[in-house]
């Protein structure tokens, strides 16, 4: 299986996905429209990795601008598991032992779904703890670089390297460094299971959730069911913001400055239209259409502004939940596998899966996928997530 769209060093141990800039290496974020774009600088996360002595293996496939389920819309082609079903290239590369860790940008949950499908770990940290400098932007208000590894220790190792204040990112939080632990005692922890998300998942996922809950109880944690009655509205709000911000951010790919330019045009309008029509895939176009619509004069208040208000409500709701619980447990996606499908359905399929992954992107809290299930914690609760995942992984061995 070819996990990499760009090889950097065959001896490297860390991969980064193709939305993360590495100076001097073509970066396309899975899109034809960025053909030939070679960045002049590396992302802050990559700079920190290199400074810490890590070596980069290469850049993994990503879906066009990271907007799909697990990377199937990549201009470079899909990544398939041995059984022919889909997963993300980064998660598969980690699962196959090609790399120890992989950095992926999580904007709509794709890296979390990939980790669940390939049976590895992925942690999306608290918004503002890892710099977003040097990633191809889509939805800036919720995207964050996260770490994929085969276990919690592996995640912790790289997360400790890439997190910390960066003056080049105006939303970067002030702490210079974060200390993470993966071995806090989980006995006595209270974990909330989200009823609406459990109910919305398929039987195979429910079974995995049940097994995980049982193991948590055995380790001395309490698992209690809670309700997030507005979780569907949260997902819709994030879909609106995700498309709006993406539409705005990818408008700069116009064939004028860099990337793909159409060979046929008469004037500037045709240069724009033809370059974008030929250079962008179906899912990117769907997001542009949807995003333009929700930002239009007549729809702004009822769509985008309302989403901003829903974001605040969601944050308040999650604060309330974490006042009584250490972590939240829920599925990472509706099913346990994804078969190949007609890519014209990507936008709708991805929108449906946002139900499971939105809250962390919308409210900035950390999320982790481990053993095929998903955990959330309050802001800066990464150590809680790593400790639960670590304890469960150790007990499985």
């Amino acid at each position: 299986m070819d996990y990499f769209v760009t090889e950097i060093d065959r001896a490297g141990t860390v991969a980064v996905d193709d939305t993360i800039l590495v100076k001097g290496y073509e970066t396309k974020a899975g899109s034809h429209i960025l053909d030939g774009f070679v960045p002049l600088f590396s992302s802050d996360a990559v700079e920190r990795l290199l400074k810490a002595g890590c070596t980069l293996r290469g850049k993994t496939h990503t879906g066009e601008f990271g907007l799909d389920l697990v990377g199937e819309t990549s201009y470079h082609g899909v990544c398939k598991k041995a059984d022919g079903t889909l997963s993300s290239a980064a998660a598969e590369a980690v699962a196959a032992g090609e790399v120890k860790q992989a950095l992926c940008v999580d904007v709509n949950g794709a890296p979390r779904r990939g980790a669940a499908l390939s049976g590895v770990d992925f942690l999306k940290p608290t918004y503002g703890t890892v710099s977003r400098y040097g990633i191809i932007p889509t939805a800036c208000s919720g995207e964050q670089v996260g770490v994929c590894a085969s276990d919690a220790e592996g995640v912790k190792e790289i997360l400790s390297v890439i997190a910390g204040h960066d003056g080049k990112d105006g939303t970067s939080l002030p702490a210079e460094k974060y200390e993470y632990s993966a071995d806090k005692d989980i006995a006595g922890m209270k974990i909330a299971l989200v009823k609406e998300l459990y109910d919305a998942s398929e039987d195979a996922v429910k079974a995995a959730m049940d097994a995980y809950s049982a193991k948590l109880r055995k380790a001395g944690a309490a698992v209690e069911e809670i309700s997030l009655p507005d979780v569907k509205a949260y997902a819709t709000a994030w879909q609106i913001m995700l498309s709006a911000e993406t539409c705005n951010n990818i408008s700069r790919y116009d064939g004028v400055k860099f990337g793909y330019r159409t060979p046929t045009y008469k004037d500037i309008d045709e240069l724009y239209v033809n370059s974008r029509t030929e250079g962008m895939g179906f899912t990117a176009k769907m997001n542009v259409l949807y995003g333009s619509d929700v930002l239009s004069k007549n729809r702004y208040m009822s769509c985008y502004d309302k989403s901003l208000r829903i974001r605040r409500l969601a944050s308040e709701k999650m604060k309330e939940v974490f006042a009584g619980f250490d972590a939240v447990l829920c599925p990472a996606m509706s099913g346990a596998s994804v078969a190949e499908y007609d890519l014209a359905e990507t936008f709708e399929k991805t929108a449906k899966e946002l139900l499971f992954t939105t809250v962390p992107n919308l409210t900035g809290i950390p999320a982790m996928v481990t053993c095929g299930v998903q955990l959330w914690a309050a802001a800066f609760g990464e150590s809680t997530l790593l400790s639960i995942a670590g304890a469960m992984e150790r007990s499985a061995n």
Binding site: S43, G167, G170, N248, Y272
Partner: protein, 477 residues
């Protein structure tokens, strides 16, 4: 019927910051070539994030204070989307939802007294780039030097009732902002959109409005207003056309306005808050700091200079240029007399600049250097003529006055016997001038004096030279 004209202005002014508003690039004024002052951020490369320039915020707040505005302690930056090749990200960062200043006013002098013009708001935004069309090759190039240069847009209320008020308002804004160090307001760096309508005198309801975009010359603004008033009046009185609310462009050559294509003006800019920029929160401490760092206004400086005994004319000259005030203040602060200092700046420096074809506004001298020269003259170490010579060298060649005086040995004490010898030589060599003087032409003495000064290369106390000269020439009677 008599009509009343109603005008509102949107004025764009470039802020005098060292760097651009969201990246570390220097201002475009440092650029020699297109795309000299650019970086990945202001070229719109993906992955770069904007970081707000605090100084730009401070200057915008100061402008608000000068225009008596309410300073909003919570302001946001918002994205305005449209496609144009000079806009690298296809969006401009501006302040749409929460501008930094609102609700102010400025008093504008008019023939009949003063008019108070309301300010609706002042918001910050980034400038766009520039397109350069090469007609020969039929290619258009993009220059991003101006991209992301910080601007403020000062939006007035529709309070102007004449072109005169508009022009005086712009004049006043320009001198206030220049003097306050907010903006250089260089030629063309102040651009206006003029909103204009007319209504029957005595009525309240606003008429159909035309917006004339992107005006930078005062003369054109005046002509454009006259043209629009006439066009609107004709439309209402003689039904020459049906007025519609539209954006128009002024054509300086044809001396008229033209409606712009609908496509250029009917855009939906899809504004939304920029998630990459935290809201600007001007807390009380920062606001106090900004207020403290403000430069005095023209009115305050005028009062201060009057108290120092400067003439009205000298004051007017000094306050015409913030830089002159700053040099003057520093020289006076170093212990020189105010009236003397004003004379050195406004007579001597101005004269030297004029000789080089420059105006006093272009004066570029370190206050320490000027103070040093004045001090040397005051202490009698060099005479005033030599002082002027040193000043010329400092202004024209950029030399250090101390070093220059030493190198040229200008402060060397001239022996009285050397002066006497020189005077005698000059008298023997200029028999005609001597005869003229003795014959009653007093003026001839001046040429002999000049001759002595020339030989002595400006050294020596002129009073001593003159005294000896008269004594010696009288001996010849």
């Amino acid at each position: 019927m008599k009509y009343e004209v109603v005008i509102g202005l949107e004025t764009h002014v470039e802020l005098s910051t060292k760097s651009k508003i969201f990246c570390a690039c220097g201002g475009h004024s440092e650029a020699n070539e297109p795309n000299d002052c650019v970086c990945p951020a202001c070229c719109g490369m993906p992955g770069m994030l904007p970081v707000t320039n605090r100084h730009a915020v401070e200057l915008a707040v100061q402008a608000g204070i000068m225009l008596n505005c309410k300073i909003n302690q919570y302001a946001t930056f918002d994205k305005k989307s449209y496609y144009y090749p000079d806009l690298p990200c296809a969006y401009q960062i501006t302040q749409w939802f929460h501008p930094i200043c609102t609700e102010g006013y400025v008093d504008v002098p008019t023939k009949s007294g003063t008019s108070r013009i309301g300010i609706k708001q002042i918001h910050m935004e980034e400038d766009a780039g520039k397109l350069v069309h090469d007609d020969w090759a039929d290619v258009t190039y993009v220059d991003f030097n101006r991209t992301s240069v910080p601007l403020i847009e000062i939006v007035s209320k529709p309070d102007f009732r004449s072109a005169e008020e508009v022009l005086n308002y712009l004049d006043k804004l320009k001198s206030m902002l220049r003097f306050g160090g907010i903006s250089e307001c260089e030629e063309g760096a102040m651009r206006c959109d003029v909103n204009i309508s007319i209504r029957p005198e005595g009525t309240e309801e606003l008429g159909v409005r035309s917006e004339i975009k992107n005006m930078s010359s005062l003369a054109s603004i005046e002509r454009a207003i006259k043209y629009e008033v006439a066009r609107h009046t004709d439309a209402l009185e003689r039904h020459t056309e049906t007025l519609v609310q539209e954006t128009r462009r002024w054509d300086d050559m044809k001396n008229r306005t033209f409606a712009m294509r609908n496509k250029e003006t009917a855009a939906d800019y899809r504004y939304f808050p920029d998630p990459n920029l935290m809201p600007v929160v001007v807390d009380d401490a920062w606001l106090a700091e900004i207020k403290n760092s403000m430069h005095a206004t023209i009115e305050e400086k005028t009062a201060e200079f009057t108290g120092m005994g400067l003439s009205a004319q000298d004051i007017a000259s000094l306050v015409s240029e913030r830089k002159l005030c700053d040099i003057f203040d520093a020289v006076v602060a170093s212990g020189r007399k105010p009236t003397d200092t004003a004379a050195w700046i406004l007579t001597d420096c101005a004269g030297i600049l004029r000789r080089g074809g420059k105006v006093i506004g272009e004066l570029d001298i370190a206050p320490e250097a000027l103070s040093y020269i004045i001090g040397m003259v005051d202490e009698g170490k060099i005479n005033r003529g030599v002082g002027k010579k040193v000043l010329s060298a400092v202004i024209e060649k950029g030399v250090s006055p101390e070093q220059y005086i030493k190198e040229q040995a200008l402060d060397a004490k001239v022996d009285e016997s050397l002066i006497l010898e020189t005077v005698r030589n000059v008298l023997t060599e200029n028999t005609k001038a001597v005869a003229d003087y003795l014959g009653g032409k007093e003026k001839a003495l001046q040429s002999l004096f000049g001759g002595c000064m020339k030989v002595l290369r400006g050294k020596g106390d002129p009073a001593v030279i003159r005294e000896l000269l008269v004594k010696e020439i009288e001996k010849l009677r």
